[in-house]
Symmetry: C2
Subunit: 402 residues, 2 copies
């Protein structure tokens, strides 16, 4: 039932422990749901309450600590022995008196881990300021260290099986993009396009279905295309509108994001000029991307490429991507930007999204690529250009769902 | 363009400031995206980076502080003056050197708010342990107080317009439930049902579309119905399976959750016995729910109702519900459980989900209700019972999407 075999989990755990040793961490409290999944297989929408996987450097088994009603899920969805799955009573949930970290501190103390060097994921989602305060109070003899991004660093290089899952996610991304764009025409609501994308992303292919992506489809249209993180509304597309579609296919929680910009009818002169510049920049970056090159050097290629047209981009170009839970599919380690000295290695995967935003318009064309032995390959295969929807051609297949 | 008029935002701000005064907080740093939205209208999927709305007790305008590329969105989607929207440069994002809270501390100092009593949302999503550490370091002259749930307490009682949005969300929930259940039969993948639910939840009605819910559809089937927070998989439904469907309709970020249990063909004797007990319990609770009654008293009605059948429930029965962002649609204030002394008042809204889980099976039948002047009303209207899908009746409308 687990997405990877036992040996792959053992390998991940071994690499994690090696990094713990390097950082002087004896017990790592993993609260990031992606990292919990990566090390144990645990997968459920239970991260809205406090939970963790505790890794002691000298213990072969992790310990899952979470809400009592979720413990069954941890028994079924992980390789951890049932006796290492410990649930806290429900009165700890969203209470003004009790805090789950009080319980966890008590358990860690009882099993003799309370007075060690303890790593916590200081800047990860779902490890709140209060969680840390209560842990410190409950474990007065522990020495706390920042274990942030420790597991994420292990995640940077994917196994072949992980790449296999990402290739399935790529198929889901292409499919969702195809049907989403097909639905875009004047008079259609943004919400209808978002609904179509969601349907095809999840219903998947004959062979496999998809999962929820860590970010919902982003779908600004018209003047809102200058605002990157808007979700859809009931705005109706109009002739001449541009529409940005950013989505990801997701399989076994592995993401392959893909963004395209669509125009209903003839694009504005701005967009028409920008699109080939962005495409050329992406082509240049993909040609440069290979083992041994740094993320900063990748950015330099992009900067020079668009600089020839008098353009500049303030924000980073992209980031390491893979396993994720809401609110992000990025891995928070390597970024494609100036000063990032991460050296590309085979089976690293990046979402290259060199978007350009202006006050009233913007453009996004993106590719998710894998570093290969000698170069790079994109995971999706979708026309890398501004996509023009001709308003007078009505697609006969429109509306056909399954 | 804002979902509420200016006066409603002013009223929310006024109530928030009153609570700040009661708690001795001069500046409240609101980092919970639901609270940011509630006070300013801000709505975008940008909460995967650090951001906040700062409320100074003696200033009429809040200040939005977030990523530079999201500042345009804050200008368009809020009633805040443009000059109070401040973006931090992109090199602060997911960096190992720079932290957005350093920047925010600097701004707060510059505008003379750095040496005051500052409230932070200690246990809310997205306010990480590190965010707090960096704020404390950047504001050495501030006195920090826990401003947790302060805005959430204001959110407990809805305005009539909020209730109006929830009634639209209820229509979306009914529609998604109807089509989801319609798709359930032996041989269909869980992912197909999840895709259908997502499509109808978002595509909405002729009059209005829907949004993403803060929790994706939860859809355990077969033996997994004992595990509450599992999302869907590619498992195919089998004759005799029970399937739990928990979802929410969402409109203007207001949620109305709804859960039902479905059986393909004849249910097991366990389920058949449990369903009327749960329904009777819900009916008893809804009869009791009225202004002046406490959450704890509601729980007592449930406890006695199922106690007559020798049953007990460990977890809480429900919680205050409304505005939300992933990962939760619950408001984290009032819970329907023993010891919660919150007194019901008109226009409070609760998700009553007295689910029962056992090792290999479970049942969920839920209702979202509003407290009225004299009693309560459910927001959705869906058969309150175990739903039987007869395996040999094929629905002709199956697969028809729009």
């Amino acid at each position: 039932m687990l997405p990877f075999d036992f040996l792959e989990y053992q390998d991940r755990l071994k690499k994690t422990k090696k990094k713990m040793e390097e950082r002087g961490i004896e017990v790592l409290l993993v609260t990031d749901p992606a990292n919990m999944n990566y090390l144990t297989g645990y997968d459920a929408w239970s991260f809205y309450v406090h939970q963790m996987v505790a890794i002691a450097i000298d213990e072969p088994q992790p310990i899952w600590l979470g809400r009592y009603q979720d413990a069954n899920g941890a028994k079924v969805k992980t390789w951890i022995y049932d006796e290492n799955v410990i649930g806290y009573p429900d009165y700890y949930v969203h209470s003004d008196k009790y805090h789950p970290m009080d319980y966890m501190a008590e358990i860690l103390t009882q099993i003799g881990q309370g007075n060690r060097n303890i790593g916590v994921e200081m800047d990860h989602y779902y490890f709140s300021a209060k969680a840390f305060e209560r842990l410190k109070k409950g474990l007065p003899n522990a020495v706390f260290k920042d274990g942030g991004l420790l597991v994420n660093e292990v995640r940077l290089i994917k196994s072949d099986q992980e790449i296999g899952y990402m290739k399935k996610a790529a198929i889901l991304a292409e499919r969702a993009m195809h049907h989403g764009i097909e639905s875009i025409r004047a008079g259609v609501r943004e919400s209808e396009t978002a609904a179509k994308i969601s349907y095809y992303m999840i219903s998947g292919t004959e062979e496999f279905g998809g999962e929820y992506a860590s970010i919902v489809p982003l779908l600004p249209s018209g003047k809102n295309t200058g605002i990157p993180h808007l979700t859809w509304s009931d705005r109706k597309f109009e002739d001449g509108d541009s529409v940005i579609v950013e989505l990801a296919g997701c399989y076994q929680r592995y993401h392959v994001p893909l963004a395209r910009t669509v125009n209903i009818g003839a694009p504005s002169p701005h967009l028409e000029k920008l699109a080939p510049v962005v495409t050329e920049g992406i082509n240049n970056v993909l040609e440069k991307a290979k083992p041994g090159v740094t993320c900063g050097e990748i950015e330099e290629v992009w900067r020079k490429s668009i600089g020839r047209y008098g353009l500049e981009k303030e924000a980073r170009l992209g980031y390491s991507v893979g396993l994720g839970y809401p609110p992000d599919w990025g891995e928070h380690t390597a970024s494609l930007r100036r000063g990032d000295n991460t050296v590309l290695q085979p089976n690293m995967t990046f979402h290259l999204i060199p978007a350009l935003w202006f006050d009233k318009y913007g453009i996004e064309i993106s590719e998710t690529f894998r570093v290969t032995e000698k170069g790079s390959e994109t995971l999706t295969n979708y026309p890398r250009d501004l996509i023009i929807k001709h308003p007078f051609i009505f697609n006969q297949h429109e509306g056909e769902i399954s």
